[in-house]
């Protein structure tokens, strides 16, 4: 039990500290790296409460794919060395009230959820979950996801697909006069088309590229 507690506090301290560092670090690339550290420690916490599938999916999806794209964008935009004068500048100070309101709303939502969990446990039907405890994590998740929640699951997949197609449609430009390479043409080129043996007369030469 002591070892469990030590690991729990280690990971949660790392998670909280890196979450703070995401917002306060001056270098944008550094804050993405702290975000990755945060993801990793949270997936460790998931694994510690026995949600191994969720933890691994968290690693694969968020750390392995999403954060790579974050890093990519931040590095390409070259905003790494920005001056951190956010609070001082007049232009950005009007964002602060909006941000404060949003964060207050989120804070109260969290209080409602955690408070309900703590003081009215019957809202969250814990007894239901004990039925499938003999199955492995992946099995029990699959049994719920593909039966009771199949429509929600499929709809969320469709929403993601629509978002992806929409992003491609919005940013797609048909550019004219760009030289494109046709793989079929390149691969199916025969020797006879490319090479020709010419008899060259003395002192005349050959005209190429006509």
């Amino acid at each position: 039990m002591i070892a469990h507690a030590i690991f729990f506090y280690t990971f949660s301290i790392i998670a909280v500290v890196s979450a703070i560092m995401v917002t306060v670090s001056k270098n944008t690339v550094h804050s993405v790296f702290f975000l990755i550290l945060d993801f990793i420690s949270i997936s460790c916490l998931f694994i510690m409460i026995g949600a191994e599938f969720l933890g691994m999916i968290m690693l694969i999806v968020y750390v392995g794919a999403v954060a790579v794209l974050f890093l990519f964008v931040v590095m390409m935009l070259n905003v790494a060395q920005q001056k951190n004068q956010w609070f001082a500048s007049a232009a950005s100070s009007k964002h602060i009230p909006v941000g404060l309101i949003i964060s207050t709303i989120i804070f109260f939502e969290l209080i409602i959820v955690i408070g309900g969990w703590k003081y009215k446990p019957e809202i969250f039907d814990i007894n239901n979950s004990s039925k499938v405890s003999d199955l492995s994590n992946t099995h029990s998740l699959g049994q719920v996801l593909y039966t009771d929640y199949i429509h929600i699951f499929q709809i969320s997949g469709m929403i993601l697909l629509v978002a992806m197609v929409g992003a491609i449609v919005l940013t797609f430009r048909q550019r004219s006069n760009v030289k494109r390479q046709s793989y079929i043409k390149q691969i199916s080129r025969e020797r006879a088309e490319g090479v020709s043996v010419v008899e060259v007369a003395s002192n005349k030469g050959v005209k190429i590229d006509d």
Partner: protein, 332 residues
């Protein structure tokens, strides 16, 4: 006292796994260079030790005594972290590789997901190294490699789904035991070929070694590295290659199972069979390096997204329909 005992036992087990992996990484570098040389009718490293077997140790010694140069304009913390990340990620994945039904360090339920997650984290070592060097060639190499590894991960993931459909479990030992009658390389042969090629791309091996294309980018993300830090990149890369070979052996070639289920062959320990299968796959890796010319970058992307992804997705539908129609879906 009890805790200490458990900790010591685990440390002993981990060392018993990691030291052979590190030694075999050194040997595998020698094998790679030898195979490469023989294909080109050269001798390769044959001076240090018998058959040149100690060449890698001599190289490692040289790297240890070289000076580590840290560029003054680099981001020093991340610059130093990058090779450490590469090396660590390449080594922690070995925790779940089963060497026989019982010889496995961590027999976790989601073993294959763990392997996939760790191999997808491998891109960070390269991005960190490329960005922190604060120089043009490493940065270009890192960007190229990030795009390449993310692309090929997708097709590897779909191929893993193919195998999992036939197994019905994410545990690596279950995957091996499911192949007792028939190795998955036979029914899923096209997937094996795609997995092999994707593994080449995922580990930045030739013909997909664009992140370090010598002709264009000097040495890609490792241009600014020297001494032991360069050696750590190098070790991590080869440990990753071995890991990919082990993954291929477990997913398609029956892991620690003996190829023929007859009396004298079943006496050989499973670890030997697994090592032989890994070596076979690595031999193919080394041959490909010597035989195939490097891909152009747009061709590489096209191969990943327009050829491998549709092919492996179609194969998922095929496998699922076949298993469903003939009522062969694994249940427990």
């Amino acid at each position: 006292m009890e805790y200490l005992n458990i900790v010591f036992q685990e440390v002993y087990k981990i060392l018993f796994l990691l030291v052979p992996v590190l030694v075999s990484v050194a040997m595998i570098v020698w094998l790679d260079r030898r195979v490469w040389a023989f294909v080109q009718k050269r001798q390769g490293p044959n001076v240090v030790g018998p058959f040149g077997l100690l060449q890698s140790l001599a190289d490692a010694l040289k790297y240890i005594f070289k000076e580590i140069i840290i560029p003054s304009s680099s981001n020093k913390v991340i610059f130093i972290l990058a090779p450490i990340v590469t090396m660590t990620l390449a080594l922690i994945a070995w925790a779940v590789i089963p060497f026989s039904a019982t010889q496995v360090l961590a027999d976790i339920n989601v073993g294959i997901l763990y392997l996939f997650a760790v191999s997808s984290l491998g891109v960070y070592g390269i991005i960190m190294g490329g960005w922190a060097s604060n120089s043009k060639y490493p940065f270009l190499g890192a960007i190229r490699s990030a795009a390449q590894m993310v692309s090929y991960e997708v097709s590897i993931g779909v191929i893993i789904i193919n195998v999992l459909l036939c197994v019905g479990s994410l545990n690596l030992n279950d995957i091996v035991i499911a192949q007792q009658n028939l190795w998955f390389v036979i029914p899923l042969f096209p997937m094996f070929v795609i997995f092999f090629i994707s593994a080449l791309a995922e580990t930045n091996r030739p013909p997909f070694d664009l992140p370090e294309a010598e002709a264009e980018l000097v040495a890609g993300y490792q241009t600014e590295y020297s001494g032991m830090m360069y050696a750590m990149f190098w070790l991590g890369e080869y440990a990753n290659i071995l890991l990919m070979c082990a993954m291929g052996a477990i997913l398609f070639l029956g892991g620690w199972l003996s190829p023929i289920d007859i009396y004298p062959f079943t006496l050989v320990p499973g670890a030997i069979w697994l090592i032989l299968k890994i070596l076979l796959l690595f031999f193919l890796f080394a041959l490909v390096k010597a035989i195939v010319p490097r891909y152009r970058y747009d061709q590489l992307m096209r191969l990943g997204w327009k050829v491998f992804l549709p092919l492996s997705l179609t194969w998922v539908v095929l496998t699922a329909s076949y298993l469903f129609y003939f009522n062969l879906l694994p249940t427990n």
